[in-house]
């Protein structure tokens, strides 16, 4: 009696396509790296501006944050790539890749940083102001360093999510790792080997990033808690 699906496990298929998979992985890392860096900077910058209550900027930042946090990333990606050109702005696959990740991660990080800044004990800032520091300087020397450290765990969490969400680019058929695997399956029909292989790769990289995050958090931890 033939076995259920006639599936013959053949790991050699991974070796055959190592070239393509490697290129796919590089693309994943590229859009993730730019997306993560951008999300970090955007989050810190806009989070600071929001905390400092800069008049018009604060409202605009709120709109940006709420739009990108309350809509699915997948739909944002479709919109940026397929719909935006109708308004005249056409972006390539790579650009949509890192830009969508940056905008999504940045929105969440604005909230994370803002929460961190606002969690800084009011007493520290008051003492600083009492010593004659202007508002901006007080922020730079007290709120920023302490608040950023408080925000660190949630920020690294989002950055790792940015990396995982690079897989969403199959929506626009950008050939990062997952899309490359899907295209190989389209021709070879080897679902098990392909998805198992890239699953292991993602898990491994996420695990490494988590280790890195813990290390950074440990290094920058505020002694005695905040």
């Amino acid at each position: 009696m033939p076995d259920d699906s006639g599936y013959h496990f053949d790991p050699a298929i991974i070796v055959d396509h190592l070239d393509d998979l490697g290129t796919g992985l590089l693309r994943t890392l590229a859009i993730s790296a730019i997306g993560m860096a951008g999300a970090l900077i955007v989050g810190a910058l806009l989070g600071a501006m929001s905390t400092l209550r800069i008049p018009v900027a604060r409202q605009l930042i709120t709109v940006y944050v709420e739009v990108f946090r309350n809509t699915p990333l997948l739909v944002q990606i479709f919109f940026l790539y397929f719909a935006l050109p109708e308004t005249g702005l056409q972006l390539g696959g790579f650009t949509v890749g890192w830009l969508s990740l940056l905008l999504w991660g940045g929105a969440y990080n604005v909230e994370n940083f803002r929460a961190g800044f606002e969690a800084v004990e009011g007493g520290y800032v008051e003492a600083c102001r009492a010593l004659g520091f202007p508002r901006l300087a007080a922020f730079r020397h007290v709120t920023l360093p302490i608040g950023a450290r408080i925000a660190l765990p949630s920020v690294t969490n989002i950055l790792i999510s940015v990396f995982k969400n690079s897989s969403f680019m199959i929506a626009i058929s950008y050939p990062e790792l997952t899309e490359t695997a899907v295209n190989i399956v389209a021709v070879t029909f080897r679902v098990f080997e392909m998805f198992l292989a890239i699953g292991v790769v993602y898990l491994g990289l996420v695990w490494l990033m988590s280790l890195g995050a813990r290390a950074i958090e440990g290094r920058f931890a505020i002694p005695g808690g905040h």
């Binding site: 946090r69 309350n70 109708e86 898990l203």
Partner: protein
Amino acid sequence: MPAWVGPVADYLAGGLRETALLALVSIAASLLVGILLGALLTLPGKPVRAVVRAYVEIWRGLPIIITLFLIFFVLPIIGVRVNTFIAAAIGLSLWGSANVAEVVRGAVQSVPRGQAEAAAALGFSWTGRMRHVLLPQAARRALPPLIGLVVNLTQQTSLAAVIGLVDILEASQRSIERLTLSGGSTHAVPILGAVLAVFFVICLPLTMLSRWYERRLH
């Protein structure tokens, strides 16, 4: 109103029902399983914690798309075949429960140690401590991030489109497909814009609820 709007709106409405159903099922399963696992993560015994930790790391570490592909295309190889909706629900719930477990663990462990120690000194068992002292306090701290996870899960249901579930995103894609191929314009901006708007309207109140509750906590 242009002629194309009617059929598209109908099709999207059907997709929205699927999205809502999938979201509710996944949220319920994630909360139930996640809270249980989160509590287990605070157990003193190492073996249980190790198993749960492995579950959490795997389903949080894998991109959801990979999880969905594994359940939908790979499981049938060993004879486990579920339909598209159940595959999507399982995939989302694995991710959701892993994240809920982490939130619950963090919340329980953020309750000042003194509370647990005092309860132990008073003679409460582990279950008693959890039930009467730790969980009620942890629940308050866990609520804002949990609401955030609920919002997230609602949005992640759109991923079910990659295995062909006709949720609101897939419905919008098929509508755009039909309109594009019949030679007219794609109408991608209004259609995708409508999908974004629907999610926004559903998720914003929940996000604001979480923010409001967080302020109440402090």
